[in-house]
């Protein structure tokens, strides 16, 4: 666990050293702020003290940002050979994956935490459902974990960053849109299954303020699944026939 933390610290520092972090924070706050306050179905248009517009826009921006963040994390180490250097230290494959996961998650949490002023501002505008807000934040973090683990998996199976990015988006599109659309077309068991697999179903119910254990379990299990797959694809080098 200690090695994971050492790796996470290094990754986080490299985000801030390479401007990636600043660009991400500025663009994320910019876009989510723009759509929350100024444009489309923003707060003033709805006329309610709610953070719902922010959550639905953050939901889509993170969908693009997280793969951009994770695409280089393992692919670049594989390409440049630093992975070999890392794994010949007393560090396991799982430590490496965990370290990268923690670093990306921390950066996303920082980005989300910086939107707390939106919450405070809206709170001052009118009566706000505090439970729904905190649930929404909780849901965003759960969803970010899911995306990060998918992004890390995509990054671990290739040493090309663009391939990793596109693959993560591709998997994301299924969870975000395709399962949702398909579930409307099917009835019965298949419909239910697709509905369960769709990320938006689970996110919507959490961001409305209903925390159901099944939803939490959904996000956590995809996260763990993604991380285990990423580790497996690193360990693959050891497979001998």
């Amino acid at each position: 666990m200690k090695s994971s933390w050492v790796i996470a610290k290094r990754e986080l520092r490299s985000f801030f050293d390479s401007l990636v972090a600043y660009i991400l924070l500025v663009v994320f706050l910019g876009i989510s702020g723009f759509f929350t306050w100024l444009f489309g179905s923003d707060v003033f248009f709805i006329g309610q003290a709610t953070l719902q517009p922010f959550f639905s826009i953050a939901y889509f921006t993170l969908f693009f940002f997280i793969p951009a963040l994770t695409m280089r994390m393992i692919a670049e180490e594989k390409r440049s050979g630093t992975l070999e250097l890392l794994l010949t230290k007393p560090v396991s494959d799982w430590n490496v994956v965990m370290g990268k996961f923690l670093a990306a998650l921390l950066l996303i949490i920082i980005a989300i935490a910086l939107t707390l002023p939106y919450y405070i501002t809206i709170w001052s505008l009118g009566p706000i459902d505090h439970g729904a807000v905190w649930c929404g934040y909780f849901g965003l973090i759960l969803m970010s974990m899911t995306y990060i683990s998918i992004g890390l998996f995509a990054s671990s199976i290739t040493n090309n960053q663009i391939v990793a990015f596109l693959l993560a988006l591709f998997i994301g599109v299924f969870l975000l849109i395709i399962f949702d659309v398909l579930s409307g077309n099917f009835t019965g068991l298949i419909g239910q299954l697709l509905d369960y697999l769709s990320l938006s179903t689970h996110f919507d119910s959490i961001s409305r303020g209903v925390i159901d254990l099944r939803d939490v379990l959904y996000f956590l299990s995809i996260t763990v699944f993604g991380l285990v797959l990423a580790e497996t694809s690193l360990t693959k080098r050891n497979i001998t026939d």
Partner: protein, 311 residues
């Protein structure tokens, strides 16, 4: 710390990159790993450092098998991989402290160790720069520094002097020799004089198999078998006479004219005998002036070529 490699085999598809090799390295020994490109040197090193799993066989570091005790073994090893991969966007000092933390160097000793490594590897002027901004030679030094930062008992260096200038090469070789007194060192290289200059023992491998194992002198003797001398006598007009006299000596097996120099001869002594004294006495008796008598050594290059091209 001793390393024992036992019947190690690694296959890539159908190709056997390492084919059933066994060898042993004792504490305080510097082993030079020689071989043409693709002979299996790097693969063997990757297996010993627990990066890659073998198909068959075992490696024991200090009686611990790499199949079971990876973490303990990794702590004992300092490894400089081929091509020296580094994080180019990190400053040198930050990188060294990152590696020290990963290697579980106690917090209060980290800055000491880093200062020591910076000193040892001559990184003082460049220590605040980002690694990507360094020249190849300095990057190589950073690679060496990170390999040694936790004071490992075993050093595995894959082409440690590539990219260094001649002065640095001499420094690094001296460093490796000094380190080799207490540590076990395995280094691979293409540069043959380097092996002679630094290693106690040489292991030549070709097509995944060990083709020679021993000190440089031992390999030379084995390849050569007999003493070969170049003899020059002052007067070229005596050529034929000297030739006959040399041929008639008891210890001489074969005499040949030197193609490059008219008044020189190449003298092959008989097995396990030296003809140097006989030649000297013969010249004294005949009052010939001996202007040159040089033992010709087979160069390590020749041995290497012989061993790696014949099979």
């Amino acid at each position: 710390m001793s390393i024992v490699v036992n019947n190690l085999t690694k296959k890539f598809g159908t190709q056997r990159a390492v084919d059933n090799i066994s060898f042993e390295v004792k504490t305080g020994e510097i082993l030079g790993f020689l071989g043409p490109n693709g002979a299996g040197k790097t693969t063997t090193m990757k297996i010993i450092t627990c990066y890659m799993a073998q198909n068959d066989g075992d490696v024991k570091v200090n009686d611990l098998s790499i199949l079971e005790h990876q973490d303990e073994i990794k702590k004992q090893i300092g490894y400089l991989p081929e091509n020296n991969p580094l994080y180019n966007d990190m400053p040198v000092l930050e990188y060294l402290s990152f590696v020290a933390e990963l290697q579980n160097v106690p917090k209060d000793k980290i800055s000491n160790r880093i200062a020591e490594m910076v000193n040892l590897c001559g990184l003082d002027i460049e220590k605040h720069k980002k690694i990507g901004e360094l020249s190849k030679g300095y990057k190589q030094r950073v690679g060496l520094a990170q390999a040694m930062i936790h004071d490992p008992a075993i050093l595995i260096l894959d082409e440690p002097t590539s990219g260094l200038d001649p002065n640095q090469i001499v420094e690094i070789r001296k460093l490796i020799k000094d380190l080799g007194k207490q540590k076990t060192v395995i280094l691979s290289t293409h540069i043959l004089p380097e092996v002679e200059a630094t290693c106690d023992r040489i292991l030549i491998i070709n097509n995944g198999k060990i083709v020679a194992d021993g000190t440089a002198d031992l390999l030379r003797k084995r390849a050569q078998g007999q003493e070969v001398l170049r003899v020059q006598i002052a007067k070229p007009e005596l050529r034929d006479k000297v030739f006959e006299a040399l041929q008639s000596l008891d210890t001489v097996a074969l005499v040949d004219f030197d193609n490059e120099n008219n008044s020189s001869f190449i003298v092959n002594s008989k097995d396990n005998a030296s003809s140097r004294e006989d030649i000297f006495h013969m010249c004294v008796e005949n009052k010939w002036v001996l202007t040159e008598m040089t033992p010709l050594e087979t160069k390590l290059e020749d041995i290497f070529r012989d061993l790696t091209t014949t099979n």
